[in-house]
Symmetry: C3
Subunit: 358 residues, 3 copies
Amino acid sequence: MPTTPTATWNRHHVLTLADFTKAEYNIVLQTAASFQEVLSRRTKKVPSLQGQVVANLFFEASTRTRSSFELAAKRLSADTLNFASATSSITKGETILDTAKTYLAMGTDIMVIRHREAGVPQAIAAEMDRLGVRVSVLNAGDGQHEHPSQALLDLFTICSLIDPENPRLQLLKNKKIAIVGDILHSRVARSNIWSLTASGAQVHLAAPPTLLPQLFADYVKDEEVGEDERGRGGEGERGKIPNSESNIQNRNLFIHWQLEPALKDADFVMTLRLQKERMTGHLLPSLREYHQMFGITRTKLQLCQPSVKVLHPGPVNRGVEISSDLMDDPEFSLIPAQVTSGVAVRMALLYLIGSGKS
Amino acid sequence: MPTTPTATWNRHHVLTLADFTKAEYNIVLQTAASFQEVLSRRTKKVPSLQGQVVANLFFEASTRTRSSFELAAKRLSADTLNFASATSSITKGETILDTAKTYLAMGTDIMVIRHREAGVPQAIAAEMDRLGVRVSVLNAGDGQHEHPSQALLDLFTICSLIDPENPRLQLLKNKKIAIVGDILHSRVARSNIWSLTASGAQVHLAAPPTLLPQLFADYVKDEEVGEDERGRGGEGERGKIPNSESNIQNRNLFIHWQLEPALKDADFVMTLRLQKERMTGHLLPSLREYHQMFGITRTKLQLCQPSVKVLHPGPVNRGVEISSDLMDDPEFSLIPAQVTSGVAVRMALLYLIGSGKS
Amino acid sequence: MPTTPTATWNRHHVLTLADFTKAEYNIVLQTAASFQEVLSRRTKKVPSLQGQVVANLFFEASTRTRSSFELAAKRLSADTLNFASATSSITKGETILDTAKTYLAMGTDIMVIRHREAGVPQAIAAEMDRLGVRVSVLNAGDGQHEHPSQALLDLFTICSLIDPENPRLQLLKNKKIAIVGDILHSRVARSNIWSLTASGAQVHLAAPPTLLPQLFADYVKDEEVGEDERGRGGEGERGKIPNSESNIQNRNLFIHWQLEPALKDADFVMTLRLQKERMTGHLLPSLREYHQMFGITRTKLQLCQPSVKVLHPGPVNRGVEISSDLMDDPEFSLIPAQVTSGVAVRMALLYLIGSGKS
């Protein structure tokens, strides 16, 4: 069991990283580090959540994330229940809140929730709080909103690379991190923007204009906008975000319509999954053209720091977001490390929100 | 582990409540009460079925009931196997009995079976007995026939409310219990009629004529039948049921085509799920009209005892069988308690039929 | 835990039986025998793989085989993860190797893989070896290629029948074993040919010409070929197989286009599942005609040794590959014994490839 100072952990649900404190980030990182150490032992299980029930309520299919949470729960000796909407009573007309309350009444201690609509985990958490029950909710991805455990595992992967013994938020101070691809539709990007800007890193977003939130369009940096595009974008301003998202105001956030300025001297490049179905919405010319413009290749990486590393939340469309050879190159790719970190970080989250319960 | 007198428990399968004795009902209630107590402890697991295999063979999809059985089995430290017909070799032409025999040969100790056809669990149990094996079968819902564990959890929920320390059948003596809705198609109603009439409660069924078994039509109470309907119904007689169902003869069973006489002074109101697909069979006018006539609301509950409680087996069609606000009102709704009871009652059933095995 | 001499076990993956040594067959048989004994005890679990993760990656649906592996893993106290392609990110464009690497990175120790394409488990194993990781791969059926655990459980079933205390390969020396049915498409047949010919048994294949590999056509025994078929077959030679499959050269393998010579004096008859969809490919006249010609019945069994036993890998098309009454007759049918053996043999395989890991 971890010896980290969880006394200062007061968060009951993990729904968003928007209000995460630096102390909370560091507790997650340290707890995950101690579980990473557990996972390297002969016996990889700890009895922390023995007798507790973790229900994976996946209203949107995801084998990868569900397996990661399931394994994390089992490593903590919890009992797990899996719910997938395809075989559920959702199809019988029950509401999502009713489904959650059913699992609550069965004795679930922690609900891990994924849904294609933004806000569902928050709504379930609010209902649990209203009912005065001690059930915790963990957002495993809600629509295009957030995916906190993914961003935390990305954070842990990067920090652990810099200092495996003592991963901490401060390690990213002034590191340049590029986030490349479909920012508009990416819950992974949203959560990562919160954690990375909180760390003091310089976060550079690069996406074609059609895949960037409208909100950001006014902040594209001037020099990147071609003559014909100037009318659409306008003069960007460093890290200045309108009041409607005031929390990220004055953070080191930069917006680009082209890849090169984001990659220049970057320490880390986070690529995002491209939903191929975006093509049908005419948001993209062709996969081939997308790869030419925003796909990460060895050649393009030469713009970055020599020690640059590439991340991707998976599953990867090889040859689209990233060239196939680069993805498999252990010198550059942190993708397997991300998956491994995922189990440790999810153990940490389940442990932190679950350990006060029984 | 429970200290109840299980020595008197001789039932090997739980397929129907038609032949349950009062002693058996009471053993289930007492065993469930002791497991309910276990579930409130820090460590919610007992080693009763360690090393045993509980296979959930769900030929009809049901996340709720399957999860409840799965959790009950895990709380008893059994290993669980889940079988869902969608991914099964049923689609490859194997018979259901062959599937069951395959799970038998793998070493399954208890089979929990749901099927859309009435009689399947019975057929499998008969085959197991014919083979001389010690495998137990638990009916988790067969067609429109029975759903014994649901009725037992309803019974436990009601009895526990009256006397949490010592829930027992006798507590329902002379209580008035209304069962409202689609009696015709409801396996839940069928099983509940057995258990509730056995308890000595006065059981009042209320349903539109099209959703009541033809068998019952002759016994609708006279005063409720309007001029135009008299030809269809006829004079009812209290608790008198034809010979073909002689077991429930002389029990306190009353049949109504209208809601009000069933609700009058009722202590408990059990609502039944309305399968919306019944609409296509022209058995119902509209959901709205159904709700007006048979949906349970605060207003209608004023006919009942002030302490009346409402049950529903779930999943609920909010605003159809029951008004949405009533469903969520802890003063009236026992629905969450039913789900919680479900785990304890299923633990009791698995324990009782499984404990003599290994 | 088994006391068998596993010191001599050096195989890291189980992908094919083509290169299995006699010593390896015997280690599997002896280890399975000791687990069979464990399964008869009160507590059927052993802690051999505690803390290890067994991932069932089933890219092709199979409840039966997946449940058998899952139960075997649980009996060894491993944690299990189930992956089914229907709900997987395969549909999101990820490659199979990427899926496997994701499960690797999560901490999987053993991958049990089924895929409709031949060679997938081999490709994954090769990739794991290339990466220098200690993950083991177990082929649970790949296309029409191999199904080693099925052939090993068949072998164990037969050998255990002859000498339950000490099942060993030599027991089959000079036994006559008929394999009947769709040899062409059967991975079960392929794997069984390797193990049975290795044992020194006389293996007789019987299939209609359209369901026999072209390779074998030249080796159909002369006397069986009618005038009109002679042109297609030609003079067969005992056990002589072309160089392309040199490993089975000089083994006692016989090919027949008719059932009777294969059954004559046979000690065991292995029937193969007939994929009904073969009908659409015009490879078969009708199921009824197939049953008349190649279906196993009591009458046809009179050609065999009086003690003859019948096997089938399941699921059975009753009345097609085998008559329904025969399948249920414990005097002749080893089908339930095969399923039971399956758990013990899979425990043995998981134990043997997994025990050196942690």
